[in-house]
């Protein structure tokens, strides 16, 4: 599932923030209790990876399982697959999404809402349905399920994220830039290469990183579109989980959590992608 922002949050707090009284104890407690609820399972996954006996919290700690995982080969193939698919799909999505934003950008204020909704569709549709429909699409058009189909599937919805990031980026640099160039008679191609491109590199980077993170974290879409042969890191974790809870699974979860959290931190540090970090998978 994915959720797009419903509105554009203001980057600065409202003027009136100063007058607002601080939060009362109930609200503050609720906030921190919720955070605790959200973080406890993840924090425990980290701890669990180091337990000598994973089923027993009091059994003491060891590096054994993590080291065994790093030295073995069950981690590396899925990890490499995830990285390759992430890079490929992020690159395609950035390219396509940017093309769209540049093309529609000058008209972004006058786009009919139905078209905006269409562009948002891949973000809004529940992942199960996206996965199923893409699976049927690939099967019907005789695609061989594997890395290619997973890359296309990931890129298909990442492109919409990139589009919105880039639209925002374009709008921010100067709302009238494209329009002005257009009024001055510049060709669409010229608008793109000479006027717009130089100003959008931060957006490109943010969009790429966001797409990469979406792809790297994705489970359901990969599950449906990967066919039998390809296994990504989340798919590997899922299949291990179905066979049984093992130290190997715990260690792999640790690796995944570290990579995943690292990626979000990087994304968070990029202003352009921050407000889009609202979608998960």
């Amino acid at each position: 599932m994915a959720f797009a922002k419903t509105t554009t949050p203001r980057s600065t707090p409202p003027e009136s923030a100063a007058v607002v009284r601080p939060n009362n104890i109930f609200i503050t407690t609720m906030f921190w209790a919720t955070m605790g609820f959200l973080y406890l399972p993840l924090a425990y996954l980290v701890v669990q990876a180091f337990l000598t006996d994973p089923g027993n919290i009091a059994s003491g700690f060891t590096m054994e399982w993590v080291l065994a995982l790093l030295h073995g080969d069950s981690l590396w193939e899925p990890l490499m697959n995830s990285l390759i698919i992430g890079v490929a799909s992020a690159t395609i999505a950035t390219f396509i999404g940017t093309l769209g934003a540049v093309g529609f950008g000058p008209f972004s204020t006058v786009l009919p809402p139905s078209l905006t909704a269409l562009i948002m569709l891949p973000i809004l549709i529940p992942e199960v349905i996206t996965g199923l429909s893409l699976l049927l699409f690939f099967l019907l058009f005789r695609f061989e399920l594997g890395a290619t189909t997973v890359v296309l599937a990931h890129a298909s919805f990442s492109a919409s994220f990139v589009y919105f990031i880039m639209i925002e980026q374009l709008r921010k640099l100067d709302p009238n830039l494209g329009e002005a160039a257009y009024d001055l008679g510049a060709e669409p191609g010229q608008i793109f290469w000479k006027v717009i491109l130089p100003n959008i590199v931060p957006g490109l980077i943010a969009g790429w990183l966001l797409s990469f993170t979406i792809s790297f974290d994705d489970f359901l879409i990969s599950f449906f579109t990967s066919g039998a042969g390809l296994i990504t890191l989340p798919l590997k974790i899922y299949s291990l989980m179905r066979i049984g809870f093992s130290p190997e699974l715990n260690a792999m979860s640790l690796v995944m959590i570290c990579l995943s959290t690292g990626l979000v931190m990087v994304l968070w540090s990029k202003e352009q992608s921050r407000k889009w970090v609202i979608s998960g998978s």
Partner: protein, 356 residues
């Protein structure tokens, strides 16, 4: 202006990377195909251990790429929808029949399978493929009960029945398979019917019986091993292969063919019509029909072999294992699942109704 040129290069570079990468990827796969002989097998997990594949590669120079499916239906959907690239597949009994009927399997040239004669007499002409024109029987097993005997004591020599599931002594540690046909079959057999019952009245009664116990049991799962290992489950409806693999880890787990009878399944190897490496597929088929290989696979995989000389090579304990090689009386109470045709729509609805 220098900035802009760099950016132009950057974006063009990105396009180039996509194109070159895509082309490279494609060529890599192409050249991979021709450089070293490969064989793409789609099998169930746990059947083909890596060392056997390595042995095959040493003998023949053919590298095996193994992939897994989790159900016959998934395999069928993939093949039917045009997934190519599998050279050898492993459909079960009823799925073999369906695939043969739909012309999805390549007719076998028995001349290329010199070890085919190793197969036991009684599998030379199974119901789903008379004369073995399309499939090579590989293994069979049953769907029965796995019980943690340390937690659920049984009197010596007792063979439990399906009542263990449906009137479980420990319902909160009991699971049923998450499989429509298997669950209905178990209840039908317990009620004295057969798994291929087509009478609506009987099926409705079965549903009612299942609905009564649904709330009591812990869960439906097709992967009970993890829960058994942690004593979250003590009685499970399970496939014999999974159950015996669990029993290998902990001797207190015992697998039983319930005394009322059970579902019998068989897994076969077959070459789909879309196979690209047919010669390699034949080599592999002949390889696993070899007595030594087949007996090693049967021993490690905990299934019943269909291979006579392989059976001869098995240790006595294995040969005398009544759940792997049951006597004739027990065998007579084992049923293969048949295709129910239009009845599936009704059963499908009942399956949903069961869990409401």
């Amino acid at each position: 202006m220098g900035d802009q040129r760099i950016l132009k290069v950057l974006l063009n570079g990105m396009l180039a990377i996509i194109l070159i990468g895509g082309a490279g990827f494609w060529f890599a796969r192409k050249s991979n195909d021709s450089a070293q002989p490969v064989l793409r097998i789609c099998a169930w997990s746990n059947y083909l251990p890596q060392n056997v594949l390595t042995q095959f590669q040493k003998q023949t120079g053919i590298r095996v790429e193994l992939s897994f499916v989790s159900s016959n239906e998934e395999l069928f959907a993939k093949l039917k929808a045009g997934a190519t690239g599998f050279d050898l597949i492993q459909p079960s009994d009823y799925m073999s029949r369906q695939m043969i009927r739909l012309g999805m399997l390549r007719e076998l040239d028995h001349g290329q399978l010199k070890n085919l004669g190793n197969l036991m007499e009684d599998v030379r002409s199974p119901a789903w493929d008379p004369g073995l024109k399309y499939t090579v029987p590989f293994s069979w097993g049953t769907t029965g009960l796995v019980i943690n005997t340390a937690k659920v004591p049984l009197s010596p020599g007792e063979i439990p029945g399906w009542g263990m599931l449906f009137e479980s002594p420990d319902p909160k540690r009991t699971s049923l398979l998450d499989d429509m046909r298997e669950v209905f079959s178990a209840m039908l057999i317990w009620k004295g019917s057969t798994p291929n019952e087509r009478n609506h009245q009987k099926l409705e009664e079965t549903l009612a019986g299942l609905r009564n116990i649904r709330e009591n049991i812990l869960m439906f799962t097709s992967e009970p091993r993890q829960y058994l290992a942690r004593s979250e489950l003590n009685i499970s409806h399970a496939y014999s292969m999974d159950a015996l693999q669990a029993a290998e880890m902990k001797p207190e787990f015992k697998y039983f063919i319930p005394r009322e009878g059970a579902v019998r399944w068989a897994d076969n190897f077959a070459i789909p019509t879309s196979a690209k490496h047919v010669a390699e597929a034949y080599r592999f088929l002949d390889f696993i029909l070899d007595a030594k290989v087949a007996s090693e696979l049967a021993l490690k995989g905990h299934f019943s072999t269909q291979n006579q000389p392989a059976w001869d090579l098995l240790p006595e304990a294995e040969k005398n294992n009544p759940v792997l090689y049951p006597d004739q009386a027990t065998k007579a109470r084992l049923y293969y699942l048949e295709d129910l045709g239009d009845l599936l729509v009704l059963m499908n609805r009942m399956w949903a109704e069961l869990k409401i």
